[in-house]
Symmetry: C2
Subunit: 217 residues, 2 copies
């Protein structure tokens, strides 16, 4: 079944997980699967890592600039993590969902909670990805080779903090197998798009059935 | 993706539609797709039609017997339609969902509403199938050759009554194409089984992650 589109309002699809659980890979695969999906590029005050592209991986902004966005109400959610700010710029998201495109968020539990509690809450589909095991999560962080052991310990603590908020999500998947988890995510997104609440065109269809019924009687 | 099972509680999957919209065919296809699915055979006081098998198509019972079931609280839902009683016997459903099997119901909006409002309401997934058009629905009823024109007129009136309750369901599908609708139903059922609320085993997994994390620290 290919992705379907109608004149419905777009969904905010939130993926959360501890880092190392496969979330970024899964997000990339979903973007490849459905070209109508729009990725919400976060803004951050942290410095770019090697290879990261401004506007693609993140919007790299100064702290005063970030604060200006927040003050203007232009961040859908934001948080302070390890001394840096992170947030989801609102204007791009609003434009996408108004035009019926779903937006994919790769954000943590704090961001997910803020979006669920916002005016856009009813249009949210939230999915949490759990790792198969903690040693596996640790192994993945170490094998990245990006961080020293102190930073890895901090990241593991942050991972546990993230995992401990697993139960606030609509769906929770254990990422035992990347292909299987990808397939489950697609199933969930496809089903969500079929929901009554997501299909404003249905009312038109029922109205036309009603006039056909009256013509018949 | 093949149907998945865990030690979760089963779902009550309700299919409703006006007669002639393809519901029975779709229900049969779902039963073939997933052999763990259990079909809820309704009890009725109406006489069997040619070819109908007691215990398979319906449980054909007398009116006193039917009333005894209702009085004992052993009908999950029941209704009086065209002079006959119809109802879903509760014991078989309870046994199935306790053992983690999903139960499929082919019932009308009144039955769906009664089940949603019952103690089993939270375990319900309800899907309404709309016909592509009223003339098509009429054509299908006529081509069955089962009924005279007066009965068909009564059925069409009942069909409209059914359609007018379309908006109380979790999902609403227009059955333009039987194969496509079948695929959508499978997607919806698969996604529902992945829901947080449907996966009690997840708590065990998170507890084991927690002890692994404590071992690591």
């Amino acid at each position: 079944m290919s992705p379907q589109k109608s004149d419905r309002r777009g969904l905010l699809i939130i993926l959360s997980s501890p880092s190392g659980a496969g979330k970024s890979t899964l997000a990339k695969r979903l973007m490849q699967w459905d070209e109508t999906l729009q990725f919400s590029v976060s803004a951050t005050t942290r410095a770019p890592r090697e290879g990261e592209v401004n506007g693609k991986d993140y919007f790299f902004v100064s702290e005063p600039e970030f604060r200006k966005w927040v003050a203007a109400g232009d961040m859908l959610e934001h948080a302070h993590v390890f001394g840096n700010f992170y947030g989801s710029p609102k204007p791009a998201v609003e434009a996408a969902i108004e035009s019926g495109r779903d937006v994919l968020f790769d954000i943590d539990w704090q961001g997910a909670q803020q979006i669920r509690n916002s005016a856009l809450g009813p249009y949210t589909l939230s999915i949490f990805i759990l790792p198969p095991s903690i040693p596996e999560l640790h192994r993945r962080l170490v094998s990245r080779g990006q961080d020293d052991s102190e930073t890895i310990a901090k990241r593991m603590q942050k991972s546990w903090d993230e995992i401990s908020h697993w139960d606030g999500y609509d769906y929770v998947l254990v990422n035992d197998d990347l292909d299987e988890t990808e397939q489950k995510l697609k199933t969930i997104i496809q089903a969500e798009r079929l929901k009554f609440a997501q299909q404003p065109r249905l009312s038109d269809h029922v109205r036309s059935l009603q006039s056909q019924f009256e013509d018949l009687s």
